[in-house]
Amino acid sequence: MQSSSVAAKSAGDGVSDEIPEGLRVMIVDDDPTCLMILQKMLRSCGYQVTQCHRADIALSLLREKKSGFDIVISDVHMPDMDGFKLLEHIGLEMDLPVIMMSADDNNKVVMKGVTHGACDYLIKPIRIESLKTLWQHVLRKKKHENKDFQQSRSVEDGDRKQKAPEEADYSFSANEGSWMIKKRKDDEDESEDKDDTTSLKRARVVWSVELHQQFVAAVNQLGLDKAVPKKILENMNVPGLTRENVASHLQKYRIYLKRVSGQQQNGLSDSFLGTQEAPFGSMSSFNGQELQSLAASGQIPEQSLAALQDVSQSTISPLVDQGNIFSFESPTLHFVEGQQQLSSNSEQMNFLPGIPTNMEPKQLSDMHQTANLFAGMMQGNQSSSSMVPMTQQASAQIQNETNGNLASMFSSSIATPISSNGIANGVLGYNGVINNVQGPAYDQVSQPSAMDFSVNHSTDLLGNGFSVGDNSDIPPTLSTGVFQGDASMEVEGSGGDARTTYDIINDLLEQKSQDWSSLNPELTFGASPLVNMQGDLGTFPSFLGQQDFLGNLSTGNSSSSSLGQGVFLSGEENMPIVGQQPTVLNTESSFQVEAKSFPETSYQNALLPGNGGQEDLMSALLKQQDGTGRGEDEFGFDGYSMDHLPI
């Protein structure tokens, strides 16, 4: 079988349209029985298999033959090295798609996988069907890279232009802003970059440990605040490295730092979500791992800003991302510089940008949601330019997954974690958080249901300004659902289900919208809106869909509340979607979810930006970031926007 395929070895090249038989798979598991079974299954699928019973052996093998493998499947629990660690290493160094597997189908672990940038998560016992689609991950990744570059460029360009003025309003780190502006100015560079990117895609930069160290050294030398890609690039003096590469990597790094610093403080306290701490906190735990996600999130913020501007469309994603960012922030960033600045910056960035993370959304739309979470996450990362290997994986996934904005949102969020793994965090964070936060609520949520949701409803939400992505994108939710359902991120579960997420959100929105108005502008979205949400999701859609809301938000409390609420709903819903998905999906009543979920905030962000109220939102968000987080408890984000909005 293998030999016949042309794609065979080149599957990794992302030549994409052929099924890469002969795909070179590396499997890592300390359980010999499992290794034997997997090997046999993979061989019967036509893949070439190399098995390792130890992670360190696997890593050195991978290092020896950098392009000798196309995909890695690894167990989570191994005696010599944690599977997630391995995942991170691979993502960082080789940027290969990694699939995690375990007998453990605990949501947390699954989310952790996502946030760490796993392309998929399979629950043991592994079925051969799950392995048949392995090649898709590889293709997706490659495609993603390409698309990412192209799409993100266009998105960024567009966003950037609009954002420029906005940027001034936001207080995100000067670096980011300047960087963004710089980017704008570099339009021509952009286009060049685009081309380069495209070609770069092929020669994707893999941020090896050494390279990263060089990067970090350069950043430190310049001072984090002054570390602009151009200067970093010059400082590093690495041939073949472009400013783009550095830029996206910088974003991720920033996110990572934020996460780290956030963690130091207390987990997400840094994140503007602040309030959400609870949820984030949990998220952090997930995210803790991925720097990249943070980095990605870093990227997102910028994008979000841009997105915010545009918001109406894709806001959803950004919001999600923001959520992610936060979650990431607290978690331990790989970069671990723990630079507070970053965190604060990133937070802000995330906050507003929320949307940007969505940048991916566009890309996402292409992708189906299924692994939305991943996709979402990845996308978030991708925007960065997938510098981070992990991101790529994530991005690829996310992009694929998230078709709709929602998807993007989630993706963004999710993606972020994954990007460096972080994206997964983001997404997972949501989910994870949600799960944690809600606890009971989530349990109810059955992920599979989530998927159902999104599919149908999303339209409303998306249409409106949420840019959720067209409903079907609810990838995040799907993912969540997917995870739970089958423990395998596999797209099929969520496949196409991105919609479900959306649907759910729609439902939520619809419900919420109604509730929102009654809820009170207070937005405490966090708590009340969410709680009300339980069944009110319906209102949600109304929020999302209507740009008016956004406007309202800023203007009237009720409006904003609704929006906020809507947002919350989305948040809640998002939550489900993002992380909560399960909850959302299952029952609208599960909205109770716990507003804490981040996702809501993300929605808010998303929602808000949509309307002209973006600025208001942004400022609100910014303010919130500062710690207002009234609604923090629950929404963290929401608290921001909402609180301010009613004002």
Binding site: D30, D31, P32, T33, C34, M36, I37, K40, M41, S44, D75, H77, S102, A103, D104, K124, P125, I126, R127, I128
Partner: protein, 145 residues
Amino acid sequence: MHRRLASMRKSLLDQGFLDEQFIQLEELQDDSNPNFVEEIAASYYRDSARQMLNIDQALDKYPLDFAKLDNLMHQFRGSSSSIGAKKVKNESTQFQEHCRTGNAEGCRRTYRQLKKEYATLKKKLEAYFQLARQAGPLETASRPK
């Protein structure tokens, strides 16, 4: 023989000793690996014996280290589920539950039950594979290519 084998397999499935995973393994078996499933089972019994020794030792300690037990059992459960050992897997899941709630008595009780199921399945599988080996050539011959 062939029929006997099929009916034995069916009864193992019906009684819940084995699940779908086992069937998947059988489907993987082919001419290049005619005794694939048996090899897998042998590997499983080797590993799981070692794992169970570890669990035995851990259960002898006072106080019980539930986290460790949970971890050990997790590995065991993974292996068991890989070959489709349904009852054994269920017992190990139960065991892990007890670990999470810190129920020492529950752990021991469940573990005793698990060992029983484990031994029972082993015997049944031995009989099954013996029959399979005998029926082998027949099966191969009758299997559509």
